[in-house]
């Protein structure tokens, strides 16, 4: 079913915003999505009707807050095809989720000389925690190569999997190229080689149906703020038996069962990993966000974005001097399009587009190794979501033509 985009747009107050008198054209949802009224209202309702700490006091407000908090956990678990909500740990963001896996799981389970397999297209958040671990534990990092179309080179993957890595950690969808990686197939092969599979799903869960059971991964990291929820709330899925045997990430309240002066015993997952008062408003906002996306249907969301991406790629082909990175095949890509226009630096381009009310990302996209691979210093990136329209793509194209003329590309 096609999305009713004009009705969706009416749900997002910020889309009424003008930039220098021009309507906002928000093409930066891969950085963070805008928030619908229902999410904003859910947070407002929490603070004005049942604000209290969770899992602690027995009074009515705390009880209501705890119920709403745990309901969000269940909603999100269901949303990504996880049967037991206790496999969902609330963290701050995808970065924290990946750090948690590296710190609490990999640190205890990897020995010097073990290997970790990553890819050339990873976001810094899926490189740096592993580099830190490699330094500390003397483990080695390998990187699956990408081809010129921005797709993973599966031959390179199969070569590297022969080295029997203990971990395969990769993006489901690349934030910088939009590539959808064949995670399911790779997870199967990695498991056969004895690896634990970690998936950075920050750019997939907001945009397409994702089923953890189907993907067969062991850990999955997601950010709330890219899927209509507030910033500061992230989710880690972890297989229960793995979570059970992991040491906590941080010590404090909530994560304990019993504390004595000299020792303490840990709470059960997921609370073992949720030390201190959590981001309650974030979790409640996430619940409302999941409701909103579930109502639309993730198949429809993906369909809408695919159509828009195809339309945009077609129009971009006609802009002289425009180079698009990544595959043209919309079956293999999400709704983030990276490009450069002639020799105009991404920041200059973003500034010119900004004067037309258009918001895009520009820079190294938190993927400097990938930029080195592409031999560019920076790229511009336009990314689409449920509220974007073909008309907005047309506005983008017109602005690109303006920039091209200004810089005489």
């Amino acid at each position: 079913m096609a999305l009713n985009v004009s009705r969706i747009r009416a749900d997002f107050p910020i889309l009424k915003r003008k930039i220098d008198g021009k309507p906002l054209v928000y093409l930066d949802s891969a950085a963070t999505s805008q928030k619908p009224e229902s999410v904003i209202k859910a947070i407002e309702r929490y603070y004005s009707e049942y604000n209290a700490n969770v899992h602690r006091s027995v009074h009515r407000l705390s009880e209501e807050a705890t119920i709403a908090f745990e309901q969000s956990r269940e909603k999100f678990a269901h949303f990504i095809g996880v049967k037991t909500a206790r496999e969902i740990v609330f963290v701050r963001n995808t970065t924290e989720a990946l750090n948690l896996v590296a710190f609490s799981w990999a640190r205890a389970n990897l020995r010097p000389g073990d290997r970790i397999l990553l890819t050339e297209m990873e976001h810094h958040s899926n490189i740096v925690p592993w580099q830190m671990l490699a330094k500390e534990k003397g483990v080695k990092l390998d990187f699956v190569r990408i081809n010129d179309d921005g797709l993973l080179d599966l031959e390179s993957f199969r070569e590297l999997i022969k080295k029997r890595p203990k971990v395969l950690s990769l993006a489901h969808v690349s934030n910088a190229l939009g590539t959808i990686n064949p995670v399911k197939q790779m997870a199967q092969e990695a498991h056969s080689a004895g690896a634990t599979v970690v998936v950075d799903a920050a750019q997939s869960v907001p945009h397409m149906p994702v089923d953890v059971a189907d993907l067969e991964c062991d850990f999955m990291a997601v950010s709330g703020h890219k899927m209509l929820a507030p910033t500061g709330i992230g989710m880690l899925y972890g297989r229960y038996d793995l979570l059970e045997h992991m040491e906590p990430f941080m010590g404090g309240g909530e994560m304990i069962k019993e504390v004595h002066l000299r020792d303490a015993s840990w709470n059960d997952p997921p609370w073992k990993f949720e030390a201190g008062t959590p981001n309650i408003e974030g979790v409640i906002g996430l619940g409302a966000a999941v409701d909103y996306l579930s109502n639309l249907g993730m198949r429809n969301v993906r369909q809408h974005e695919k159509g828009l991406t195809k339309y945009a790629l077609g129009k971009m082909e006609d802009v002289k001097g425009l180079v698009v990175y990544g595959t043209r095949d919309v079956e293999k890509r999400g709704a983030a399009i990276a490009f450069n226009l002639g020799d105009i630096h991404a920041h200059d381009l973003a500034t010119i587009l900004d004067t037309q009310g258009i918001a895009i990302r520009s820079g190294h996209q938190c993927a400097q190794p990938l930029m080195e691979r592409l031999k560019v210093a920076a790229t511009s990136r336009a990314s689409f979501y449920i509220y974007n329209t073909r008309r907005e793509v047309d506005i983008l194209i017109r602005a690109l033509e303006t920039a091209r003329k200004m810089f005489r590309v």
């Binding site: 220098d20 105009i344 630096h345 991404a346 920041h347 200059d348 500034t351 010119i352 900004d354 004067t355 520009s362 820079g363 190294h364 400097q368 930029m371 210093a377 920076a378 200004m406 810089f407």
Partner: protein, 134 residues
């Protein structure tokens, strides 16, 4: 900001940067990147005493950073170190004849930062955290 920044003079300095390249007899060097966009500027100076006799720069960056660095090199050739130390944001905005706004000003100031780094390194003194004049 508006597209005012992309005036003819700036685009000209971006397309044809002045004092670009290497200085074989340089006696002071510095290199710095802008973390926001990954722009890199590298500068080579030839100082005799406290005077900048000559300088060259190389860089990879946006029009704002390349043009402002190019304009800066023209301004400071032959100047004394004490004068360099006094340069700040206002001077760069004056060179550009336009304020690039809060985010992009970082691009505009990169060249000045590198110049000061090179001068301070040459004199063997610590670079102050904040620009001495803004």
């Amino acid at each position: 900001m508006s597209t005012d920044i992309y005036k003819e003079a700036i685009l000209d300095h971006f397309r044809h940067p002045r004092n670009y390249g290497d200085l074989p007899d340089a006696n002071a060097r510095a290199r710095e990147a802008n973390v926001l966009c990954g722009d890199v500027i590298e500068m080579q100076l030839k100082l005799s005493g406290d005077r900048i006799d000559d300088l060259r720069f190389r860089g990879q960056g946006c029009a704002v950073s390349i043009a402002s660095t190019s304009m800066l090199t023209e301004l400071v050739k032959g100047k004394e170190v004490s004068e360099i130390k006094k340069l700040g944001k206002k001077d760069i905005i004056r060179l550009l004849r336009s304020d690039p706004g809060p985010t992009r000003i970082e691009c505009a100031l990169l060249g000045l930062k590198v110049l000061k780094m090179a001068v301070h390194a040459h004199l063997g003194i610590k670079m102050p955290e904040e620009p001495e004049a803004t």
